[in-house]
């Protein structure tokens, strides 16, 4: 159950991997859609935390093209509904996330990403 809200917060944490380590690239992913409770206040409060281009890219990669290139100045309900869907209703179930810097592969199986590092990757 990696949703794009979480993917947008996640950088690589392998030893020495401190730049160009976000966003993790999605590979061979399978997604499932699941309804989540809509909360406009949460979205309005959260939007400043989003790395927007990374979110738009990830969503488009998963076939959702509903988000504009820039977050709009007017956050009307129509926009917030789309944001809600992208952030909270698309679940990555299988596949992998790959660090663009060190190429560490974080496999996702049964909805759970494996974030464990090998001994030599621990900082």
């Amino acid at each position: 159950m990696v949703r794009l809200i979480t993917h947008n917060l996640l950088a690589c944490h392998a030893k020495g991997c401190t730049s160009n380590n976000f966003p993790l690239q999605l590979k061979d992913v399978q997604v499932e859609l699941r309804d989540a409770e809509y909360n406009a206040d949460f979205l309005r409060g959260f939007i400043s935390r989003i790395e927007w281009p990374a979110l738009v890219d990830a969503a488009r990669q998963l076939g959702d093209t509903s988000l504009p290139n820039e977050p709009p100045e007017m956050m009307d309900d129509d926009f917030l509904q789309k944001l809600h869907h992208v952030l909270l209703e698309i679940h990555i179930e299988e596949g992998a996330m790959i660090c663009p810097n060190c190429a560490h592969v974080y496999p996702i199986s049964n909805g759970i990403p494996n974030m464990l590092l090998a001994e030599h990757e621990i900082g």
Partner: protein, 219 residues
């Protein structure tokens, strides 16, 4: 019986059988629920403001179910696959990660509005191999440093845990402080063997304005 953290590492101790036994035990469910509510109280989030929380050592989702009920979005991490398996079966709403908290987090700065952790960090006090990166101070340092970065300023992280000595409390608190946290230990019902509970209340920022809450007493 000796404490679970002395018997085997958590991902081994909480295998399939133990994970189910633990989750289905109604006494454990009740204790975990009580401690989760108390941790949320100590977290003292602004009311009516939705939040994204980190559940550290979320296990089978006993605390996560309460976060769901309370309307929080959350991300849970745990090192025991069997526990996460049970959490999936219980259909909790949070995103679940298989992660060793002693290896540190990769979440971007300021990702979370707060963190809770129920009956977990005592596990960080046991060295699992002789490798230097797995010594308890190393693991605690990585854990607290990367957690501090992942939290918003100001915010709190509340850990209920089971220390076996004052030295352990000292070690954990001093490493948390070095990582940038303020705060301290809250002991509920200090004079009751049965009801006594230890909470580490850590603060990010706040300009020294955040005071360590008082422990509960029997009246």
């Amino acid at each position: 019986m000796s404490r679970p953290e002395f018997q085997a590492p958590p991902e081994i101790y909480y295998g399939d059988t133990e994970a189910k036994k633990y989750t289905n035990n109604s006494r454990i469910q009740q204790i975990q629920a009580d401690m989760t509510y108390r941790a949320l109280e100590l977290l003292s989030l602004p009311s009516d403001q939705p939040a994204l929380l980190l559940d550290i050592g979320c296990g089978s989702g006993l605390s996560g179910e309460i976060l769901d009920e309370e309307g929080y979005n959350w991300v849970g991490v745990d090192i025991a696959p069997s526990m996460l398996e049970v959490a999936l079966e219980r259909e909790v709403e949070g995103d679940l990660f298989l992660q060793d908290i002693g290896q540190g987090f990769g979440f971007r700065p300021g990702s979370f509005d707060g963190a809770i952790s129920i009956s977990v960090i005592q596990w960080l006090l046991n060295a699992e191999t002789s490798h230097p990166t797995s010594s308890p101070p190393h693991r605690l340092t990585r854990f607290f440093t990367t957690l501090h970065a992942a939290l918003r300023n100001p915010s709190r992280a509340i850990f209920q845990f089971y220390p076996t000595s004052d030295d352990q409390v000292q070690l954990i608190t001093s490493i948390a402080q070095k990582a940038g946290f303020g705060g301290g230990v809250v002991v509920d019902y200090p004079n009751s063997n049965k009801a006594r509970k230890v909470f580490l209340c850590l603060f990010v920022g706040g300009g020294g304005g955040q005071q360590v809450p008082k422990g509960l007493e029997v009246d």
